[in-house]
Symmetry: C2
Subunit: 532 residues, 2 copies
């Protein structure tokens, strides 16, 4: 079968350059009305990117070639630049300015678990730092390893691990190799009539291993569940040997070590195989827009759905600001909105499942003051659901600093969290002379709480990175002060590490350190990531 | 309000002696027809129980009294015997024979988290082993700590930590102290119209902290979820200080450390407070019996329910043998059964929720060959649901060795697991000259798999313990050989420790050891439990 996707994103932009478009004149006008006159800030050309000399000796490179084959060790600039960091706005700002100082010395592409395990062992023996690299979509600095004290750094590119290893239609599980990107995995499973149902915004470019390593959560999580809730078994190559977990859906055989591997971002080992809960490909998919008078009213409706045993497959709610700029519809950002707050609901399954869930949801949403905006609004969201990051690139091109971040808390704390994070980021950027546009939506809903996903846009100052970092810190401080989590579905990386320590406390930090030091005493696995 | 329960079980039997009845003549006849003539094997009297001298010095005891108050440190025989081990059949065999060699030197009863933390620190400083003791219902040897090399052993009795600390009706959460027994917690929450919905067979005597520490799962887990899935936040007293986890329902802030505390059985710290997902007290509870022609047909029906987004609140299925002796109805064991395999379904919620779920289940169960046996059968199960352990005591009194154990796997492996565990235990006990009766039911159902709960009865040999241990080992070996878990909801303790190492492998074991050694370097927390 044909997978119609590039296996690697553009080095300085999101996704497929073909899908990239400059901001329209209309949008530019709207933004300028808010932020003032814009000016072009193009990225440097690839030839101008500065990256360090390859630090690995020829002997070490030869040894690596021996492990994975000559043609699977790359040291040229294009390969190295394309495996430099992830796709956060700070990552983009750095690479757009020509800074590839975090480039790996080599890109190493093993074939399977055995080759991954061999490379891990070799890195331990040779004190070479190893960064597991799947789709390269990290937005938390998860791919920029510490370099000091190592003989070099390799990007362990997992994109050759692309097999569907097993399907168990009776249990409803499938075992996939870690390097499969979202669409590849879905295409392989579709041949068996199955789906994972994991569709985060990064879906087209992120990998199965990365979803597990970062505790990703998709836009259909209300129906299919977070990625970590889908993981039944894991195979991990560690410096101590293979770790194979997952005897059963759930058990009482001590702590659930799967939950220690998930979210570990390569710090404890390289996830090579993942067994997932899979479901039948839905026969019907229906998406619908709803209007609520206020963010509070819409949030309350979501809570009632989640607590009332009535859950759509997709459930999202934009605040007034996000609704007013139509951000939920990348095809129509800036066009007129219905006012109030836009909710997107989606139903997937058999015709019977869809009609039951939709009837129950419709009854409840109507009862609490919602007005249906019809399926067109829902369909437009569904069609543009993966396109947000392209808009960010286009805005960066005209000097608009755009970034997203997210958090999660319990329902009773949600309004407080929303207000305090919004105030913190507005205050910081305003104090820098760049008052921002702050948009927010509820992206994932649970019985006991929900996540908030913020989008911030401000005029970029000459040093955009120096402008953004304190603003991000102010937002992060506000999350921790509110008792919320530093991240709902983006992981920790380098960027959230200082706040992780506050969230889990000193004893929690010692638990992570203890595991790290025992499993990876030489500290070669993604050094500097995750562990405070 | 009045809690009509003793706070502590009988020292050598389950639960309340008032509820204990000898086996009826009818039942005795039936059992003798199968196992041959029985003879009385009464437990020794309390006065005959042999327990070690109190090993803690007067100075150490005085220091403990200083921490929790004079009246909350007990060293008399009755207190010590009642905190000796748990309630597995091996535990009962030992205590019935007068062996209380595992008795703690003292029973220490702190008031709250602060006092627990003080006792934990004191134990570290004085190298005194500490066994957290909630309801004392462990059936895996979780309460018999290693004694060698310590200045003594205390049972840290948590039964004074019985407050409902917070209720958040908006989020649907409640924070409870760890020492509350199931009925006490439910009674406190009922005043707010809320329920946990966690009803394991040990419900009347087991504690909130114990449920979390052992990853308990209740008989209504199909509807309410396993206990670990209900835990939103935890407070733990550790030798390194307090560990407070749970910023949110779910997040991506690294590994989920709650999942490392749950199942840790006191080895990493003492759980003192637990924040749980709670639901409205159901307005309606309906239980129903169903008949399937075979265990395989019933299991397939359960799988279809679980995978079809239609789940009753209670879902259980007895195999042919268990159905034939009516074990699902302790009031009617031995009376005539409907033949085939008995399934119990239960629906709890609002009238609307119950009627929707019941209609969908009934449609599916009928479609796949089930026949309703009506509500009387379901109600009889519900009324006797906590009484199984009393029958075990009565059978032990007449020389019938009875024990239960359980396991879990994925659906496609369930028949294999069932056959191989059953064969293993039958073969072992038959080879000892005591062919057993082996009964089984599916006790908990997931989308991707299910648990098997076995009950075994055999004529007790003169040394019942020596008879049972190899049989249990054979069953455990069979679970691991089948790729299943050593336990679905009873935890590891001492009894499952050798097999845990096989289940999680050497790297998994090192993860647990690393955390244990970092958090509890002196090894005072429940020594010998869990960690291979």
């Amino acid at each position: 079968m044909t997978i119609e996707l590039p296996s690697q994103m553009h080095w300085s932009r999101w996704g497929d350059p073909e899908k990239s478009h400059p901001v329209s004149e209309t949008m530019r006008g709207l933004i300028e009305a808010f932020l003032g006159p814009l000016e072009e800030r193009p990225a440097v050309a690839l030839a101008e990117v500065r990256l360090p000399e390859v630090g690995l000796t020829e002997d070490l490179l030869a040894a690596l070639r021996g492990l994975v084959g000559d043609e699977h060790v790359h040291t040229n600039d294009e390969w190295r630049v394309a495996r430099t960091r992830g796709k956060s706005t700070p990552d983009l700002l750095k690479i757009r300015s020509g800074d590839a100082s975090d480039a790996p010395d080599a890109v190493v592409r093993p074939l399977d678990h055995g080759e991954v395990a061999a490379v891990v062992s070799w890195c331990v023996d040779n004190e070479v730092a190893l960064v597991p690299f799947g789709g390269g979509t990290s937005v938390v600095g998860g791919l920029a390893a510490r370099r000091d004290g190592y003989a070099g750094v390799i990007a362990l590119d997992l994109r050759r691990l692309t097999r569907l290893l097993a399907v168990d239609p009776v249990s409803g599980t499938a075992t996939l190799e870690a390097g499969l990107l979202g669409p590849e995995a879905e295409a392989l499973l579709a041949q068996h009539g199955l789906t994972i149902g994991h569709f985060p915004q990064s879906f087209r470019y992120a990998s199965i291993g990365g979803f597990a390593a970062t505790r990703s959560s998709g836009q259909s999580s209300a129906g299919y569940g977070r990625f970590d809730s889908l993981v039944m078994a894991l195979k991990v190559a560690t410096p101590l040997g293979d770790l194979v977990l997952g005897s059963s859906p759930a058990n009482a055989a001590g702590p659930d070590l799967r939950e220690l591997v998930m979210g570990s971002e390569g710090a404890f080992g390289v996830i090579t195989e993942v067994t997932l809960k899979v479901r039948p490909v839905p026969e019907v998919k229906v998406y619908e827009g709803w209007r609520f008078d206020s963010f509070a009213a819409g949030a309350d409706a979501m809570r009632r759905l989640a607590q009332g045993r009535v859950m759509p497959t997709v459930l999202r709610l934009s605040d007034e600001a996000e609704t007013s700029v139509n951000l939920a519809r990348p095809d129509a950002v800036g066009s007129e909105s219905a006012g109030g707050c836009l909710m997107i609901t989606g139903y997937e399954g058999t015709p019977d499942q869809v009609s039951r869930a939709r009837a129950a949801s419709t009854e409840l949403l109507t009862e609490v003051g919602g007005t249906s905006l019809g399926e067109d609004t829902g369909q437009a969201w569904a069609e543009g659901r993966y396109d947000g990051p392209y808009l960010r690139d286009a805005l960066l091109d005209v000097g608009v600093l755009v970034e997203t971040f997210e958090t999660v808390t319990f329902w009773s704390n949600l309004a407080n969290l929303y207000e305090s994070v919004k105030a913190a980021i507005e205050q910081d950027l305003t104090s820098q002379g760049t008052p921002p546009l702050v948009l927010c939506h509820i992206s994932h809903v649970y019985e006991t709480g929900a996540s908030l996903y913020f989008t911030v846009a401000a005029k970029e100052l000459p040093d955009g990175l120096a402008q953004w970092l304190p603003a991000k810190a102010a937002a992060s401080d506000a999350m921790i002060a509110a008792g919320a989590s530093i991240t709902h579905h983006h992981a920790v990386g380098q960027d959230h590490k200082p706040w992780l320590a506050s969230e889990i406390g000193p004893v929690g930090v010692e638990m992570l350190r203890a595991v790290k030091e025992r499993i990876d005493p030489r500290g070669v696995l993604n050094p500097g990531i995750l562990i405070p």
